[in-house]
């Protein structure tokens, strides 16, 4: 069912993504609050790297992870400790820290050999709590629950300091991650992943090594998330266990699902959608509401966010990507479209 997406030549999706990402160049001359947009976009970029990896795991392979913020935390804390306390150069830490997260991925993935479905989701959620505890217990390096200051990263003598520096750094790797994710998805590995998702028994019968590929999926996913963690730590300059709570993991899964499962572009679009909705549109919309209604409770923001999500899922269960597909087919068949398809 999902492969159908690839057959459609959907060049509009990458164009839209590029537009959103390049928007700061356009608006920086128009308004000085572009910095706020840029900042939100940087967060989205970091999350994109993570959700591409999560899509390979949950979308392609069908292994649900409700503890992905833990990988982000592992990458972030590893890099912060390696760079600031062991004096390892930042670009080396960009290789080592994701590998550490990837190794944790293997640990996370181990139960997946026996546990499936929602049970696996809950197991990974448990791992999320365990990692948080582990970080607090290693307080000699991590300063416990109080959080850790992180230095500004230096690449080849250049200190990355401003929002624009962060933007180039993050989106260089985000684009790399998208390309890599699509390559993996189309390769032999990706096809094995999808075979496992569609039917473990059928995959096994077609000589797909289940254990190997499941572990591989967790490892790759851990790599991506760990890398996102490195960027997270060094562009945020402060990390604490509160940054990586369980709700964030659930948000990640929502991002992948909103975009449409098992399409890398879908995951990217979903991430942009949720991050911009939550951090940009809803606060701005709320400012606007306050002009007209003098409300005292702050729950309007949550309510708007929840309602948008809810209506979106009810009317677009296939995700943003599915919405695009429908529209494309609509115009292709216009004016002979069967009505039922577009309700």
């Amino acid at each position: 069912m999902k492969d159908r997406y690839e057959d459609e030549n959907l060049h509009w999706i990458p164009v839209l993504i590029t537009l959103v990402i390049l928007l700061p160049f356009v608006i920086q001359g128009l308004t000085y609050s572009y910095k706020y947009y840029l900042f939100v976009l940087n967060i989205a970029g970091i999350y994109i790297i993570l959700t591409v990896g999560l899509d390979l795991l949950s979308g392609y392979t069908g292994l649900i992870s409700l503890g992905h913020a833990a990988f982000l935390a592992i990458g972030a804390y590893s890099s912060a400790i390696l760079v600031d306390q062991f004096g390892i150069p930042f670009f080396l830490s960009m290789i080592i820290s994701p590998l550490i997260a990837g190794l944790f991925g293997l640990v996370f993935g181990f139960p997946a050999l026996r546990i499936t479905g929602m049970y696996l989701g809950l197991t990974t959620m448990g791992f999320g709590f365990i990692v948080k505890r582990l970080i607090i217990a290693l307080r000699e390096w991590t300063h416990g629950a109080g959080g850790l200051d992180v230095s500004y990263p230096v690449i080849f003598g250049y200190t990355i300091r401003t929002d624009w520096d962060n933007y180039y750094l993050i989106y260089f790797f985000a684009v790399l991650a998208i390309v890599a994710g699509r390559r993996i998805g189309k390769s032999k590995i990706g096809r094995a992943f999808m075979a496992i998702r569609d039917s473990e028994q059928a995959a096994e019968a077609s000589s797909v090594n289940l254990a190997k590929y499941k572990m591989l999926a967790f490892f790759i996913s851990g790599l991506f998330a760990g890398f996102a963690g490195v960027l997270f730590a060094h562009t945020n300059h402060f990390i604490s266990t509160d940054h990586f709570d369980m709700l964030l993991s659930i948000y990640f899964i929502i991002m992948v699902l909103v975009g449409g499962v098992s399409s890398i572009y879908g995951a990217v679009l979903g991430t942009l959608f949720i991050v911009l909705l939550d951090n940009l549109f809803v606060p701005l919309l709320e400012d606007w509401i306050h002009v007209f209604f003098n409300t005292e409770t702050g729950d309007i923001q949550s309510l708007i966010f929840g309602l948008v999500m809810f209506l979106f899922i009810i009317f677009q269960p296939m995700g943003l990507y599915g919405m695009w597909l429908k529209m494309r087919i609509y115009w292709k068949l216009f004016p002979f479209n069967p009505r039922k398809r577009f309700t």
Partner: protein, 388 residues
């Protein structure tokens, strides 16, 4: 496609709608813009409603008197849901889009800590962060020259409480029930310091945020033969602990750190909460301190609903006084630098509610002492002067 284009255009419009560079950010001839980030829809949202209301009460009063150097104070409140990442995003919005003059009364330890890099980068001061964590006035951390803490830290509160217990009863066996996060860590830091200084040993029992059952911790305190218990919780925890202890026939003297000062502790704990002593970093809102009297007068004048009146509303009120004093001292043409310099001239300044506040370029802790408040026949009564 059309929808998406529409969205893009609306982003553009929204972002361009708000731009006109002012000389000093947030300051015009008639107005000073202040940014506040509260938890409006997360676990502490109760405070998110009450704290800014208290601040606004004082701002309204000041504005009606003509404002600060002729400028009206206006406060924008954002929501961070007690999430440090969202706190930074909100601060970015306030600083870059709304162009606030300074941040004020941001709630929560980890949200405030997460703001440090942004504060340092933009040079935005943060006045009176709404957390009693002692780490806020740690001068070795980034942006510490821009953060002005008004409250006595949890570590100092713990030390003061233990000293108080030992002065009453030299052979006291002390136990602490603490929340297992950054709050608890700060409490434990104070406990470790006082253990080293006095040679007593304190029994420590942890609980998790959101815990509903304390039978295990109370049982351990009974086994440890403890007769003085410090509860480093928020509002629910002291109530449940004291009720559980009463049910199990365990009746030590209970103490609490400043967040347990809420009047509902006495209300909900009933007879089990009788005699509970809490440390507070400021005078009681219903006491005779001049700040409290002024507060009650203004509450009556502006018809504040009764549900809002209480320690947290008052807390918002008195920190607003500190901010306004800083703005006064920043002079007729305030800049962020002048605000910092102005606050650093405060020397044993009496706000009428806080202990005397002193800032200098090497010390932004503000206050070092607490007042002890005991529940007597269901009513909170001040039983001490400033203790430090």
């Amino acid at each position: 496609m059309k929808k998406m284009t529409g969205l893009l255009i609306s982003i553009l419009l929204l972002l361009t709608a708000c731009g006109k560079q002012a000389p000093a950010p947030g300051v015009t001839d008639t107005e000073i813009l202040i940014g506040n980030i509260q938890d409006l829809s997360g676990p502490m949202k109760e405070l998110g409603a009450v704290l800014p209301a208290g601040s606004n009460l004082y701002f309204r009063h000041v504005n009606e008197q003509g404002g600060v150097h002729g400028r009206q104070i206006k406060m924008i409140v954002e929501d961070h849901q007690y999430n440090p990442q969202k706190a930074v995003t909100s601060a970015k919005k306030l600083i870059e889009k709304d162009q606030v003059f300074c941040l004020y009364h941001v709630i929560g330890t980890s949200p405030c800590e997460a703001l440090r890099p942004l504060l340092a980068e933009t040079g935005t001061p943060l006045i009176a962060p709404a957390t009693q964590s002692g780490t806020m006035s740690d001068m070795s951390r980034p942006a510490s020259d821009l953060i002005f803490h008004t409250d006595t830290g949890y570590d100092k509160q713990t030390r003061i409480l233990v000293d108080h217990i030992l002065s009453e009863d030299a052979n006291a066996k002390i136990g602490v029930i603490y929340q297992d996060d950054d709050y608890g860590e700060n409490v434990l830091k104070g406990a470790a310091e006082v253990e080293q200084a006095t040679g007593t040993s304190i029994q420590k029992e942890a609980y998790q945020r959101g815990a509903t059952d304390f039978a295990g911790q109370v049982g351990n305190l009974i086994k440890g033969g403890v007769n003085h218990v410090i509860i480093a919780g928020v509002v629910k925890e002291p109530i449940i602990v004291m009720k559980t202890a009463a049910a199990m026939g365990f009746s030590p003297q209970f103490y609490g750190t400043s967040p347990t000062m809420d009047h509902r502790v006495a209300l909900a704990a009933g007879p089990a909460g009788e005699g509970f002593i809490a440390a507070n970093f400021a005078n009681l809102w219903n006491s005779d301190a001049p700040g409290a009297v002024e507060y009650r007068e203004l509450c009556a004048k502006y018809e504040v609903p009764e549900a809002y009146m209480g320690m947290y509303h008052f807390y918002g009120f008195i920190t607003a006084k500190v901010l306004v004093e800083g703005l006064e001292r920043a002079g007729k043409n305030p800049t962020r630098k002048r605000l910092v310099n102005g606050l650093e001239t405060l020397n044993k300044w009496d706000s009428g509610a806080f202990p005397p506040i002193t800032y200098s370029s090497s010390d932004h802790a503000g206050t070092e002492s607490v007042v002890l408040v005991q529940v007597k026949e269901g009513v909170q009564t001040v039983i001490s002067d400033w203790v430090d």
